[in-house]
């Protein structure tokens, strides 16, 4: 599992990943953008984001955390938390 200090520019990477799934450009997405209202990301797309992040950072996001992922900031926080464990 990677250390958070070794994650590099993980915020930009995650933003790009989310942008790809939401079919938007990363510049269009603010960190506090909500998935549902701002980005039109539904629950299935959110799961796709989770699966992509797990694969990229070799972490497991617990299933009980998934319903709490509602914004880009939530994802940043979660990845940082899990990477630091």
């Amino acid at each position: 599992m990677p250390e958070v200090s070794n994650l590099g520019d993980y915020r930009s990477e995650i933003k790009k990943l989310v942008a790809d799934i939401a079919e938007k450009s990363p510049e269009e997405i603010k960190d506090d953008a909500t998935f549902g209202e701002d980005l039109g990301i539904d629950s299935m797309m959110a799961l796709e984001i989770v699966a992509s992040i797990e694969k990229k950072y070799k972490i497991i996001i617990p299933e009980n955390e998934i319903p709490n992922i509602r914004s880009l900031q939530n994802v940043y926080d979660l990845v940082a938390k899990l990477a630091m464990k």
């Binding site: 299935m44 699966a51 299933e63 998934i66």
Partner: protein
């Protein structure tokens, strides 16, 4: 060679009747089997031995499908042991037949909770794994009673009709993720549920079946392995009756 070889299947209510036949048929076709059972440890232990004779691995887990946490534990233990799971057969079910005016709320609740909530709990517990791997096959055991309704089975028919609606909605929801959801509706099958009926009642039942015989659990199990196989790769949201023509 069967394309089920090396895959892992979870079968609920696997120790008896149709569930047991499913366990044995999946094992015969080379799948590793995880089955849940409610009460009889002895029956479960005997079945594990029988399943392993096919050269596959097997786990038996005592589980109350009415409890989500227990269902979630089944999926986690399966992943810990086998590292993968591709197929779920929601088979666990009970019946408590009675004319509606005699039926206690408790009898309604027990049947709905085991049959319908049980299907919801187990499917919800497995669906994230299936969605992440973009692969999965769910087979839900309904009944002809859920299609045509049978006397004395308002609770059972409601639960089984609910399973059909649940399955069709889910099939649409997850099709884009490579997950297929289908329903099997057995008619009168030679199991404990039907076997305990009086002989004269059985004769009356047979009059209703165009093929003039009870079905066997193995005949239902073969439809389940077919649905789980690549032969059924373009089938989803389908409801297949295995009832000798009862509900034509």
């Amino acid at each position: 060679m069967s394309d089920l070889r090396g895959k892992t299947v979870i079968i609920t209510g696997g120790s008896r009747g149709i569930g047991k036949a499913c366990c044995l048929e999946f094992a015969k076709q080379g799948a590793n089997v995880v089955f849940t059972f409610n009460k009889s440890q002895k029956e479960a232990d005997d079945l594990v031995v029988e399943i392993k004779k096919f050269g596959v691995d097997c786990l038996s887990l005592q589980t109350d499908v009415r409890d989500y946490d227990q269902c979630y534990a089944v999926v986690q233990k399966t992943l810990e042991h086998f590292k993968q799971v591709e197929i779920l057969v929601n088979n666990a079910g009970i019946k408590k037949d009675k004319a509606l005016f005699m039926m206690l709320a408790e009898e309604w609740k027990d049947v709905i909770e085991t049959n319908l909530y049980g299907t919801f709990n187990m499917t919800k517990a497995a669906i994230i794994t299936f969605l992440k791997q973009k692969k999965g096959c769910i087979i839900n055991m309904s009944s002809v009673s859920g299609i045509v309704g049978l006397v004395g089975q308002t609770n059972y028919s409601a639960s089984k009709a609910g399973i059909i609606g649940f399955s069709k909605a889910l099939a649409k929801e997850v099709a884009a993720y490579g997950i297929r959801v289908n329903v099997v509706c057995p008619g009168f099958i030679e199991t404990d549920m039907v076997g305990s009926l009086r002989e004269d009642l059985k004769k009356e039942i047979l009059k209703l079946v165009p093929l003039k015989r009870l079905g066997t659990p193995e005949e239902v199990a073969l439809i389940c392995t077919f649905l789980a196989s690549e032969k059924a790769s373009y089938l989803t949201g389908e409801v297949i009756r295995v009832d000798g023509g009862l509900a034509i």
